[in-house]
Symmetry: C2
Subunit: 342 residues, 2 copies
Amino acid sequence: MDKTGRSKGRGTGRATLEQVAGMAGVSIMTASRALSQPQMVSEVTRVKVEQAVAELGYVPNRAARALASSQSHVIVVLVPSFSNAVFTAVLEGIHDAVAPGQYQLLIGNTYYSQAEEEKLLRTYLQSSPDGILFSSQAHSPAVAKMLEASQVPSVSMMDLSDEPGALSVGFSQFEAGMEMTRHLVKKGYRRIGFIGAQLDERTLRRADGYRAAVVEAGLADPRLELMVPEPSTIALGAELMGQMMANMPDCDAVFCCNDDLAHGAVYHCQRHGIRIPQEIAVCGFNDLPASRWMMPSLTTIDTPRYQVGFEAASLLLQVIKGQEPERKRIDLGFALRERESA
Amino acid sequence: MDKTGRSKGRGTGRATLEQVAGMAGVSIMTASRALSQPQMVSEVTRVKVEQAVAELGYVPNRAARALASSQSHVIVVLVPSFSNAVFTAVLEGIHDAVAPGQYQLLIGNTYYSQAEEEKLLRTYLQSSPDGILFSSQAHSPAVAKMLEASQVPSVSMMDLSDEPGALSVGFSQFEAGMEMTRHLVKKGYRRIGFIGAQLDERTLRRADGYRAAVVEAGLADPRLELMVPEPSTIALGAELMGQMMANMPDCDAVFCCNDDLAHGAVYHCQRHGIRIPQEIAVCGFNDLPASRWMMPSLTTIDTPRYQVGFEAASLLLQVIKGQEPERKRIDLGFALRERESA
DNA sequence: CTGAAAGCGCTTACAG
DNA sequence: CTGAAAGCGCTTACAG
């Protein structure tokens, strides 16, 4: 022990529970209880321990607690992107739902890659997480196997799962894609194109919805679908809009699979003096902040992403605590925002 | 032991190193070495252990490792916002710099609040992080004290620190604010306003730079400063632009403390038929993707945020590994992007 | 309400 | 190149 009352050697050099107990004149386990289950110790004891904690600047060692209790209080969150505003809102929702409790978030960026997801999960499983929040439903076989073996509960976010027993929070990407397209049909557009990028599962489901709606209306034409695997950006949206108009001059409306692409499409038209929606209608998906402000304002689907994160984390917390959730599949819906562009 | 070779009881139910060692016919510590320092064991041993690991689906227990080695391999990251594109880029840089190693990120959102930062740090310190990445330089006294007591190395990001010995990666917010303003002066604007929101330390430093430049040019007028504490949004930018033009009709240029506000200002003008830059010039800060696409395209300061995250994490990693960094204060600079709006 | 003992699953010097 | 022992800092039943 040196002057600060801290032992030397292998450890972290931080004050330990043992020192707290010593200073408070109680046993280690009474000190432990005074901190984690204060109602189980006497008032006097609690105060003595609290004073010792303050005096020593004691900070509990989470690794020791996790090891002894086999409860890590860690929740793993896997998102496909940090730069996509959709997922940052999801993260915010999760963060807020979890904050009151004592859970820590281990956030990983999969970059829309199943291989990356696998790598991250392999690492994060070492932390014995109490639960996992996925932004996707489709996993590689290796991930499925790890999940099965680890027995860690997980919730998938954004889309709804059809697997029995699976926990999911989101809304039907398919229905949303269909509703947006039906809106265009109802407005009288007949040559409705679809612009998609990234081609992750959500985009693909939206495209399915688009297809179902144009088939339903007898307006299907595969040549009106423009799908590329590159990440969605404003620049790409502008470029694809140019391509669409060049290749399909009779195209009278474009459904972009997200607002980033749609913004690019709108800017492209602004710069080329193409009037929206008179010459061509444009709509997007997600309702990002700029959408209601740009000119023309963008018709799009408002998605409850913050809520998705919040509710998914809440659901996971319930399951972790051993409660049976009322619903395993929580549909938060979506809303069509009709504005000037379509 | 049950059929899967896993012991029952208090633990996590996962396979342990002991079981791996048993199956491989070596001691626990040889198994440990085979995994963490493979070059220190014989080829035969290594293979046997690896086979046992695969067979049992062994996943190391990080809590146990952290406790035994007093090395958590955890890095704490504190950002003021998840929704601000600036910080998501920083996060991406950090994520990428750290990925190769074995470090895990504990990411917390301070919501621009020192009190929240304090709460988060108190919790995260329990994980005995090897290092901390801050997005701010100003800390509450309590945070300063915790940092001091914990002895955990930290790097502050975005701005440059003047404290001797402090580690920082970023660029001078002051210089950047000054350069942007000087640009407006050079372009001939004489009634240059400043619109600021959130009023975090970076914004305040940019405002200082603005002030220094208008004073330098003999153009200072406090009435041209419009500063509000609300979070920066497009909506707020539009509103503040309206206020500025109403209250200061002779204002001929506006420097918005970030691109979000500037976008709002541009949209406001578009909607009201106000010509930029003829009637009023607008510029922003950060160069978000939309800035080069909107009409008119936005003059702004391009900031190296991804690089800041990447370099800050790299610097921290160096210090954690006990290497003396070449530079403790890494200036990544910034670049003025002159476009149509100013 | 309080305590002695065992144990969580690893790693670390120290020997051989 | 390999192993027996101690220890990291907590919590968990079990007693009293």
